[in-house]
Amino acid sequence: MLEQPGRIAARRVVIWAALTLVVSLLVTLYAALHIFEEAIAPELNKRSQLIGVTVREEIERALDYGVPLDSIAGVDTYLEGVLDDFEEVEQITLLSVSGAIAATATRQTQVPGAEIQTKLADIDEPAWISLPILSRNALVGELRLETDPKFVSTRLRNVVLDILVVGLVSVLLLFELIIWVTAGAVGKPLDRIFSLLREQAAGNFKHVIPAPDAGELRRIARRLSDRAIDLSERAGKHLQLPALPQAYFVDIRLPLFIFSTATEISGAFLPLYSRDAGGPEWLTPNLAAIAPLVAYLVAIALVAPFSSVIVRRIDPRRLFIISIPLTAVTMVGVGLGNSAILIAFWHGAMALVYALATIACQEYALRTASRGEDAQAIGSFLFVILGGAFCGTALGGVLANRIGAGQTFFIGAALVLLAGIVGARTIAPKIGERIRQQTVYAREPTGPPAGILLNARFIALILGISVPTNIGMAVFIWYLTPVALSADGVNVADIGRVVMLYYLMQVLAGPIVAQLADGKVGNLPLLIGGITISGLALSSLMLWSGFWPIAIVVTLFGLGHTMCDATQYSQAIRIAESDPRPGTVQIALSGLRLIERLAAIAGLAASVFLVDNIGYDTTIAGIGMMMLTGAVIMVLVQIVTTAQGKSNTVRSGK
């Protein structure tokens, strides 16, 4: 069977497609800059003329009183006042007829973000304009204005950054779309035809392939299907033969991507939104800020233990589709919320339904995964979710900046419905069961399957990796980064871009990490390395702080988290499968998810208290320390269990 049919075809195309998108954006951006500069020139000209006229009037008045140009007092201060009124002027110089400088004023402040523009705009010569000063029809001096060539491009900075975000979002969307199209046109038809052929070559004529499922190979599909139809007609049965049951991971990619984008649309501003919404007296601003985050985690923690039961009862497709309208309603609820309590309630409700939908998709991913490719299956699944989170956060920041936070939630609800429509079409109703990997085990464990939770390696994994990483994500990324940046005066769109870096790292590094985990490197080095990188990055905030340091730390934390994310699930599955009791995998995964959420909740609650007492930077550094401790735990337990394993092997004489 072809593995992941969409993947093969799409990878080659997607780079080129993304390239065309990026190039077209850059070219248009460059052209736009020039169009803007030309278009705004007349107005800038008028302003320069006005400056000339105004200054000239003042100076002529003084000259009328007989004061010579060189000794007019206070002109410097007056010129500085002119600079205040006209932002595009960098320098005004008053020259006497001989060319000597009588007075000058230069702008001191640097416009932040001007450095970004140097890459996009040409550095033109600073334009200067000369305005003669007349007194009673005699030329007495000259006013020279130097204007800022980056005036227009600096003002466009917000547009450029917003377009950057839209561009990145579109590249990811394009990626998913291309995977979908190529899977539908190439991968799935090939796979279906071959599967049916193999079935029929083995004598099984129970299935058909409907023509639309076969793409350009429908002639072949029709003939193969007709064999089955003919045989069933001859046997006297005139049933509608079932289509070949085929489920692929690619089926859930696009709907899950859109769904994740929609639900994460508030990533950049949720704590700020709920903090500003206020609430009853006892709700301090900090508590109000974390209320929806805590509600989210509580809801997911509540669902986690039941996930294995739910997944066994309801098939993924139905579960996903049921969640859609409910999610949309809850998002509208959050958008309408005018108190932090209401917002927390609706956000928690959304989290509940979100958990159901993502559990459905994760189950789908695991069941359609090929043998020995667990980390890659979960990795692909996380890639889609994180890609969506990335797009949603960045997009949400831009939208909230322009149309307001409440409206952004409504757009999110609309996207959720779109995800549902796509999902209804693409997700298959029936999938096969997961193939269990049988591994050789050293000792026969006894007891109920839940005992897996007491396995030493499992506990080390939880304490060393899952707990610190999740606390880091919930406290640092969801809560402290927006709040700390906002306290520094950064606007929502920029906060969105910083948080976006975290998800971007996961999107970029995820597939490679998953391959390394399944392949040569293995789970443990990645886990230990990842938690160490995250720990060092967060701890470094003791030494430096500010916009760019936080952005860099967010990126590094993203890298570290990626190295741990899918890998920890894969490692949990491996630990569980080394235990022969049935059902351990489900219990291990549910346990992992539950403890993660509980840890995140505890971390958030603790952080509110800590932030009030020791400040943002120290709290973040504390989390970093926790991570480094986790790394040490992992290393120690690994050494101990390897030693135990060796002594067991020696004892049993293998």
């Binding site: 072809l2 593995e3 093969i8 075809a9 195309v13 080129w16 497609a17 065309t20 998108l21 077209s24 954006l25 070219v27 248009t28 052209a31 736009a32 169009i35 803007f36 278009a39 705004i40 107005e43 008028k46 302003r47 006005l50 105004t54 009037e57 009124d85 006209f86 932002e87 227009v152 003002r155 547009v159 377009i163 839209v166 561009g167 579109s170 394009l174 291309i178 199209v181 190529t182 046109a185 190439v186 090939l190 035809i193 071959f194 052929l197 193999r198 029929q200 070559a201 083995a202 004598g203 004529f205 793409g215 350009e216 190979l217 002639r219 072949i220 193969l224 064999r227 045989l231 001859r234």
Partner: protein, 256 residues
């Protein structure tokens, strides 16, 4: 070849949406920048115009006593052809001087009150559908409001500029899109050549198989080389096809 078109449509659609959003945001931003610049300029003009009237107010005299007020106002108005009118109004809110012959038709009663409430530094800044309205108040040394200056500036030229910019941006985006589609088509044909080849190979193998039927000949005409790629091969396809056909015929001819 259909796959090339389908992907091209996907790329084109996303490209189009992105460029459309870009042109929209850029145009809105340009509008905001231009409006801001114009209003700043008008504030400076208003500040200039109020100087002689402020001098009069400092003496405690009512503004209506400025004799060549009309000339002062006209002088300022002629600096920029877009200025529709400049009005000076007195303490009670009635217009005392104006460049317009029918001032009552253009002045809104709420402006004086707004002007006073905003304070000296802030001034009045209103944007209506067709005009920018910028004002500065004139106060006596005792901080009493003596009156104010209001400049009414037509938006038509600004609007034209914004539309022109939007058109330029749109045209540029359209050209870029067309160029990229053309380039993308070429690149996709190369990138997808293996897919096209594999599909072609499979369909060719199928055609050979069918040919055997309508020629009623069971001789293998395997003149073509087997094609493989994307994890499948046409020879596997061929053998599976023949195997399954044999099984089908067996089942079909089985006596009941």
């Amino acid at each position: 070849m259909a796959i090339v078109w389908r992907i091209l449509v996907a790329i084109g659609a996303i490209n189009f949406i992105v460029l459309f959003i870009f042109v929209s945001i850029a145009t809105l931003q340009f509008d905001t920048i231009l409006s801001g610049l114009i209003q700043e300029r008008l504030v400076v003009i208003a500040d200039r115009v109020r100087v002689p009237f402020a001098a009069v107010a400092n003496l405690g005299l009512p503004l209506s006593t400025v004799r060549n007020a009309r000339a002062i106002l006209e002088d300022a108005r002629q600096d920029d052809s877009n200025i529709e009118h400049i009005h000076v109004y007195g303490q009670d809110g009635a217009i005392v001087h104006s460049t317009s012959r029918t001032p009552s038709a253009t002045l809104s009663q709420t402006w004086p009150a707004e002007l006073h409430s905003k304070g000296i530094k802030e001034g009045l800044r209103i944007e209506t559908e067709n005009a920018f309205i910028v004002g500065a108040d004139i106060t006596s040394p005792t901080q009493e409001l003596s009156g104010g200056i209001v400049i009414v500036y037509s938006k038509s030229q600004a609007r034209t500029q914004v539309l022109a910019t939007a058109a330029s941006l749109g045209l540029t985006a359209g050209l870029v899109l067309a160029g990229m589609l053309f380039f993308g088509w070429g690149v996709l044909r190369i990138a997808l050549s293996e897919h096209v080849r594999v599909f072609g190979g499979i369909l060719a193998a199928y055609d050979r198989f069918e040919r055997q039927f309508w020629r009623s000949s069971m001789v293998d005409h395997e003149g073509d080389t087997p094609i493989s790629g994307l994890g499948v091969s046409s020879s596997t396809f061929d053998s599976l096809l023949k195997q399954s056909e044999t099984r089908y015929i067996d089942r079909r001819d089985k006596p009941f």
